[in-house]
């Protein structure tokens, strides 16, 4: 009996015009956006390789380039907006990314701050809408048509009917997701500039799993509203209002709220702190600058120059990293506040999986500071022990990106929360349906 219901419902869905329309829209958008985004990734990757050859070779400075993440073709996150180059020298710890021409992003202020159109966006916005359209009528439409009464007059328990509807709807939704994902992954893998490692594949699998979880939240919500509201048109309206709130409004408002709740020190405060550091070092800096400005500075002059400047740099860096720490706290607050919205949770997990989030950026910057420290150390060696200096080499830039298992360990609370949402909505639908008046 259960099987009959599932098969019937699936066939109903597959025949329906809204499913066909939704699927066509999704497939076209996923195909187009993935093609564009993979091309964009390839362009940025080529730029990175070209720049690496020529820009990193300056000896007076530490120039570190940041390459694009391959999975940004599916989930762009912050990857494209952060900048590609961080510079430092003895008197300046690398602390902020800019474009290669030393211009801070973004370049298109009027158009910036729009969501990137990538796979994650299409699932978050377009597919979740499609899911609502599939789910809103599941019970309400049968009730309105009067068939619910007839179906339940058969020897069929209510819970079986609802489970059947849920299973069939989910199967259709996940089928559509599978088609879309497959398309995106194929486009990604077929591009000559893309080479995926085993860990990337695992991460993509994780993304698909989270997408499925996210869509099932909306499906469960849809069924719940469909059980509670008798008129299909009203059910659809209620669902759309919930969707607008959860996907469009709430994530935006929670960021605005976090900005107010965790305020950052003003620019003047930070500038004053830095000026205080500058005041402390001014005399020393003047002195070492003058010594080095002589026609024949001694080795001691040079060592002292490096020491004073690098100490000054470290002190300024302390101010910067304190500010950066507060920025991170603000971000954590925003994430916490927004976790009532499945769309925000979904975004967090996807960005983390694609390595296009702020944590990845922070790891990168930590690596940059480490490289700067060994650069300064080596610079001193040049005058204390020239032999050792010649033998030593500046280590290659590297940083410890999260391993896949670390990422999974980090995102499970959000994933759990998503599962919890769908479970809650489904249980509500379930109890609501058992008590439902069928007339």
């Amino acid at each position: 009996m259960f099987k009959t219901i599932v098969v019937r419902e699936i066939l109903e869905y597959l025949k329906s015009a809204k499913f066909a329309l939704g699927l066509v829209i999704t497939v076209v958008l996923v195909a187009a956006s993935t093609l564009i985004n993979v091309e964009d990734y390839a362009l940025r990757h080529q730029d990175f390789l070209d720049a690496k050859k020529e820009l990193q070779a300056e000896s007076q400075r530490v120039n570190i380039l940041r390459g694009p993440q391959v999975l940004s073709a599916l989930v762009r996150g912050k990857d494209k907006d952060l900048g590609e180059l961080v510079r430092g020298w003895v008197g300046d710890v690398p602390s902020e990314l800019s474009g290669t021409m030393n211009v801070r992003k973004p370049k298109f202020p009027s158009l910036a701050r729009l969501s990137a159109v990538d796979f994650a966006f299409l699932v978050r916005v377009v597919m979740s809408l499609m899911v609502i359209f599939l789910a809103y009528g599941a019970v309400a439409e049968e009730k309105a048509a009067g068939t619910l009464k007839l179906v339940l007059s058969n020897a069929l328990p209510r819970d079986k009917l609802l489970l059947g509807k849920l299973a069939s709807g989910l199967a259709v939704v996940l089928g559509a997701l599978a088609v879309a994902s497959l398309l995106a992954v194929i486009f990604l893998m077929l591009h000559p500039a893309v080479s995926l490692t085993g860990s990337d594949i695992l991460r993509i699998a994780g993304m698909m799993a989270v997408s499925a979880l996210y869509l099932s939240v909306f499906y469960a919500l849809g069924i719940f509203v469909s059980v509670k509201v008798d008129r299909p048109a009203v059910a659809l309206m209620v669902l759309l209002q919930a969707w607008i709130f959860l996907v469009v409004l709430y994530p935006n408002l929670s960021v605005t709220l976090a900005e107010r709740l965790v305020p950052l020190p003003s620019e003047q405060t930070v500038a004053a702190e830095k000026a205080a550091v500058g005041d402390r070092f001014r005399k020393d800096i003047q002195e070492v600058n003058e010594k080095l400005g002589q026609a024949t500075p001694t080795a001691e002059d040079r060592i002292r120059f490096n020491k004073v400047w690098s100490q000054d740099a470290e002190e300024i860096f302390k101010v910067d990293s304190e500010f950066s720490r507060l920025q991170t706290r603000q971000m954590n607050a925003a994430e916490l506040l927004s976790s009532l919205s499945p769309a925000a949770l979904y975004d967090q997990v996807m960005n983390r999986l694609a390595r296009t989030d702020i944590r990845e950026y922070e790891r990168f910057m930590e690596g940059a500071v480490r490289l700067w420290r060994s650069y300064v150390e080596r610079l001193n060696l040049r005058y204390t022990d020239p032999e050792a200096y010649k033998k030593s080499q500046l280590p290659d830039f590297g940083y410890a990106s999260d391993s896949t298992s670390q990422t999974i360990a980090a995102v499970w609370p959000q994933a759990l929360l998503l599962s919890l949402f769908s479970l809650v909505f489904f249980s509500l639908a379930y109890t609501g349906f058992l008590k439902k008046d069928l007339r």
């Binding site: 009027s110 759309l240 620019e267």
Partner: protein, 465 residues
């Protein structure tokens, strides 16, 4: 006709969509007002301290010009929070002051201005109010009954159109009013009359934008007979207009642009400086050895000359880079204009003086000012020393003794600074602003006419059975 509008309007007012829209409109416009007042007060304080400092210490070595925060930023922020807060004017060169992306770690969200609420939220609600205008009545069977009365189809459709607009505009105006009251009451100094005078034009623009979505709803509602399908299609169009087209146009413009990319420019920069400056400065030592120079002063003059010649090249280089970036931005903007949401946004930005046009206007005033400063320096000091974003310092040997040569510093004029040019920012007059918005406004009107024609012809041919 009046009866229809009245009836339809009452229908809408009782609907769930309308009630929620009303509540949302008031809440969000109020939130927008408060968020704006707070941020704007901070920006104003920052601007005033920076500007007074710059005015108190005028210097021939360089002046920082700060841009006054636009008082109408709550209407259309135009991405001004991501633009440089001003420009440094030095030796005829303008360098953008660094943008401080204070909140770059937070998820990038659009500013909560009118433009966002109108483009994203209200357009969605116009659809929700209008999607079943025709198809809904058809499904219920009332369309036949209504048209059985002595009532033209055109009249019926006009009535429906007016009621959709009315049901959208009532919550909209309520929200706008709340917003204006909050800004007027809490913003220190309030709004100037000239600024308030621009608001009605933004409202007119909004009317054209809402009307477009109302017509779109009527069109699809007449074409497709199932209401849920109408809604699905309209929502797809909405996502396309509000996000997909504007967002994709950036990536496409970058891909299609033939101008050198940022990385290409960066890669060409070092070799250019090497060839134009370093190689020539290094060559001086050879010329010193050959005995071309008699005094140390002559050497310095020659290195200064070479450095200044190099500066011309560097300035040119940066100008070319800026041109390439502008070309890409223009392309992206042009492509995004397929979407009426983008048309609306650009027109609103132009009218209030934010966005690209606003920045361009400020920049041209900075250029004008920079020329005035150059005149002053020439008058008082006789020579302008260009200062770029790099400098040099190198050791040489002259007549057996080591000397240090370094890039020239701009001279600091210590004399009378009372006639040093003052910078007063002018925002473009309304006429100018309106002229630059005209193209986008025309685009919106064309969309309206086109959709009105299509909607009416579709409805006239609708099979009402």
């Amino acid at each position: 006709m009046k009866t229809i509008i009245h009836r339809e309007f009452l229908d809408h007012v009782q609907s769930l969509q309308f009630i929620i829209l009303f509540v949302l409109s008031i809440t969000l416009f109020a939130a927008s007002g408060f968020v704006y007042v707070r941020a704007q007060t901070e920006r104003d304080v920052y601007f005033r301290t920076q500007m007074t400092q710059a005015e108190r210490y005028p210097s021939t070595m360089g002046v920082n010009l700060f841009r006054r925060p636009n008082p109408l930023g709550f209407v259309a922020a135009g991405g001004d929070q991501d633009r440089p807060s001003g420009y440094a004017v030095q030796g005829g060169e303008l360098t953008p002051l660094p943008v401080n992306p204070r909140t770059f770690k937070l998820p990038a969200i659009p500013a909560l201005d009118w433009s966002f609420l109108i483009r994203v939220l209200f357009s969605l609600y116009v659809i929700l109010l209008g999607y079943n205008a025709v198809s809904g009545e058809k499904e219920l069977g009332t369309l036949r009954l209504v048209l059985a009365n002595p009532l033209g189809r055109v009249k019926l459709l006009v009535g429906k159109y007016c009621s959709i607009m009315g049901a959208t505009l009532v919550p909209f105006f309520a929200g706008v009013l709340v917003n204006l009251i909050i800004v007027e009451a809490f913003l220190p100094g309030g709004l100037a009359a000239a600024d308030l005078g621009r608001v009605p034009f933004v409202l007119l623009l909004t009317l054209a934008f809402f009307s477009l979505f109302a017509l779109l709803s009527l069109l699809f509602s007449s074409l497709i007979s199932r209401s849920s399908l109408v809604l699905l299609t309209l929502l797809a169009v909405w996502v396309l207009f509000a996000v997909i087209i504007p967002s994709s146009s950036i990536v496409l413009a970058e891909k299609m642009s033939t101008a050198p990319s940022e990385v290409e420019s960066a890669r060409n920069f070092e070799p250019m400086v090497q060839k134009e400056v370093w190689a020539r400065i290094a060559g001086i030592q050879g010329r010193v050895n050959r005995g071309e120079f008699q005094t140390e002063d002559e050497i310095r003059r020659e290195t200064d000359r070479i450095f200044e010649e190099g500066q011309v090249k560097v300035t040119e280089f940066y100008a070319n880079y800026a041109r390439a970036e502008n070309e890409r931005a223009r392309k992206a903007k042009a492509m995004s204009r397929i979407s009426p949401a983008a048309l609306f946004q650009y027109a609103a930005e132009d009218i209030v003086g934010t966005g690209d046009t606003g920045e361009e206007n400020f920049l041209s005033q900075c250029r004008e000012y920079s020329r005035a400063v150059d005149d002053f320096i020439l008058r008082k000091l006789g020579r302008i020393v260009r200062v770029s974003r790099w400098s040099f310092s190198t050791n040489m040997e002259f007549q057996g003794k080591p000397i240090v040569v370094s890039s020239p510093q701009p001279p600091n004029y210590q004399g009378d600074m009372s006639d040093f040019p003052k910078f007063v920012e002018r925002r473009p007059a309304f006429g100018e602003a309106f002229k630059s918005a005209l193209g986008d406004l025309a685009g919106l009107l064309v969309w309206n006419i086109l959709l009105a024609g299509l909607a009416f012809s579709a409805f006239l041919r609708t099979d009402v059975r």
